[in-house]
Symmetry: C2
Subunit: 425 residues, 2 copies
């Protein structure tokens, strides 16, 4: 067992930060939290303590929507809306992942950068290429980080070099599951690209396999107005965009992540709630692609779960702390635009989305409660406070979220294991 | 004379970047640009060249709305709208600047951080305290950076410790002008806080002094809906918020910067255009205080000038590159919300706002044209491109703006003089 001492902050519930100033956390040999204390229990007083001093100890980040093969496009090419952006920038880049060597170089850099930014687990879109996707899974596994790896299914309205078929996807999925069988923290996730790229045939196959192997599902939903009109044309029998997934067993029949939901309302919101489908809010992406502002407060009021995603390369940055900023900020614009009718998100609410809410897709992850995996970051924020250290730890965390960066993250743990940026794959 | 070689980018006009790949720039002993070349003229071939290799050379940033005394509040306390935020967080912090020692510590840190983030000139709000304001001016001057320094005028609806009067402001302003007489790049700017804090008496005095000494003016305009209603009540005889400044000679009678303008339209927009009043767009601030989205495209279409401001501590970060990101992003949200009627801002447009447009308030500053001051940054962006350096310099600059930070700024020049972060005041 290990004992860590630090200024500990986490969000067991979204409404406030729980703070242990100079507190202790005990972690067993499997990386599972055994207790959190303000004062160390008497029976542990003689045990060695890893003392992080005045530093902050917080749960690690979970990125619940991220496209690993778009890493090289991060920070460029943001002058278009979704559909032309996909065709002009994204698909040509993803085609390169037929080349395993290219894939390995990009995926190595991607996983390392994810780690640098403090994200220990992610729900990831790969491409349609099985070998590249296996390489991505192996990279996460060797790094000791957690991931849900999505071999993308797409069989229409896409470049020839990028499509698969219902049967090729199903057989590749079998290979993927086999190659991941021994990975403790890396698992598969069923990943239809989005309705416009998927015929009923491939959706049907994906829904069947998701149910058969009890696999989670991830996709995109109601991101852009033109996209939604296109889906209505392609799936006229569906009552809403979400229903087009639901008809094929891909909307809550197993745990489901749906990215964006900028225009989700009415029937679709009810269907999400009824099926406990989780929204992945990607505010940086929604800004960059001019998609709009997802009505997150409305989702929360409707009892729908919300987590956060960087969605690179539509999002411009891998830091989930950066995504938290935008989640609060765009909710404030929505508050202003709604004349105050939709209260804006608080920092503890978005922190909860990035930690405990997102972590729930990986088991007991994202909180410092007993029985949870010790996924944690140690933050040395001294350099930020050049005119005086705030005494209030929550204020220090707030400043780190708004002003800090990877320089201030000095230790990273995934289920108790310290993850080093110098790992060689 | 000095000759610099690098990949040079700037925006003489807002519509596109002008790029000199492996180009040359010549700067005279006064720090004034003598020429920019793709190929070095024959007569200079034997002169020594400072070669920045593959690095980017761009104009330095101009921050046209920033509150120096709010530096210690940066990145915290963003859970309120404008008026309660001022009363709860901002005014109590500004009261501390009666203490010169405190002021010196904060202003030293502020100017250094501004420099670190690549900003060489700024239009700054100080407080109502003359000694602290003189200290701020001195700090900029000793650092070798440019500034317009605003001794704030405010004489109502504010804490007793923070108000001045028309006559005390006028006499302090004389002292300030005297103490700045020998400063080459640091000048005074007439700075009424905003209409709710200023009686007709102080506004009248400020307008008179602005006109008499031909001083520029800066203030806040139409930032928040509640604020606008309050101004209507306080100044019922004015046709709009802007007219309340105009009546006192503070709205374009001399060069004028008005921050925010989230709700400027109709009569007020016409008045701004007629008087060539310049909008300071502060998108990070407008997000954080839930103010709204300034209709920047509408301003540009109306022929109104627009520059950028960090507006800390309502803005959460001093980097104008960060502000550029938000300027593009909130314009994209506005584009989505207007169903495409207001085209979003391009990167060259916001870069122009941060460089040549803002720089115009300091003379010939912000562009690499002949006769302009050599205010420049050298960007070493190699670390950003871990999966391959783009051949296109503009794409490299775009990635730096979205992904880079102060680590990538390796040299900073203000009017030809290299500014060092290690300067001791």
């Amino acid at each position: 067992m290990r004992i860590y001492k630090a200024n500990i902050l986490h969000t067991p519930s979204p409404n406030h930060f729980e703070v242990y100033q100079g507190g202790y956390i005990t972690v067993d040999d499997n990386g599972i939290i055994q207790g959190v204390y303000e004062v160390l229990p008497t029976e542990m007083e003689d045990m060695p303590v890893v003392d992080f001093g005045e530093r902050l100890l917080i749960p690690a980040m979970n990125d619940m929507h991220v496209h690993a093969p778009q890493y090289a496009n991060m920070g460029i090419a943001m002058d278009m809306e979704l559909i032309p952006w996909l065709n002009t920038y994204t698909f040509p880049e993803e085609e390169k992942f037929a080349d395993e060597q290219y894939a390995k170089a990009v995926y190595d850099a991607f996983v390392k950068e994810l780690c640098r930014q403090g994200t220990m687990r992610a729900a990831v879109f790969a491409t349609t290429h099985i070998h590249a996707t296996q390489c991505l899974a192996k990279t996460f596994d060797e790094m000791g980080m957690g991931a849900l790896i999505g071999l993308v299914g797409m069989d229409r309205h896409s470049p020839e070099e990028l499509v698969n078929t219902a049967s090729s996807w199903a057989s590749d999925m079998q290979s993927l599951m086999q190659s991941m069988a021994d990975m403790a923290k890396v698992k598969p996730i069923v990943t239809p690209r989005f309705i416009p790229s998927c015929t009923p045939a491939i959706l049907q196959t994906m829904g069947t396999i998701a149910t058969q192997f009890k696999l989670p599902v991830q996709s995109h939903l109601s991101e852009n107005k033109q996209e939604i009109i296109w889906v209505q044309q392609l799936e006229p029998q569906s009552t809403c965009y979400g229903d087009a997934y639901h008809r094929y067993g891909l909307f809550g029949q197993t745990p489901t992540l749906m990215a964006h939901c900028c225009y989700t309302d009415g029937e679709e919101l009810k269907l999400m709630h009824a099926n406990d489908v989780c929204v992945v809010h990607c505010p940086t992406s929604n800004c960059n692609l001019a998609s709009g502002i997802a009505p997150v407060r409305k989702f929360l009021q409707a009892g729908v779960r919300v987590v956060l995603g960087s969605d690179i390369a539509a999002g411009h940055h891998l830091s989930i702390f950066r995504v938290m900023q935008y989640a609060v900020q765009v909710s404030k614009l929505q508050y202003a635009l709604s004349d105050g009718k939709l209260p804006f998100l608080t920092l503890s609410e978005v922190f909860y989305m990035a930690t405990k809410a997102g972590g729930s897709f990986f088991g007991k992850v994202g909180s410092f409660e007993v029985g949870y995996a010790f996924d944690a970051l140690v933050i040395d924020d001294m350099g930020i406070h050049d005119v005086g250290l705030p005494t209030d730890c929550q204020q220090r965390l707030e400043r780190f979220i708004y002003l800090g960066d990877d320089r201030h993250i000095v230790h990273r743990f995934c289920q108790g294991k310290e993850i080093s940026l110098n790992s060689q794959f």
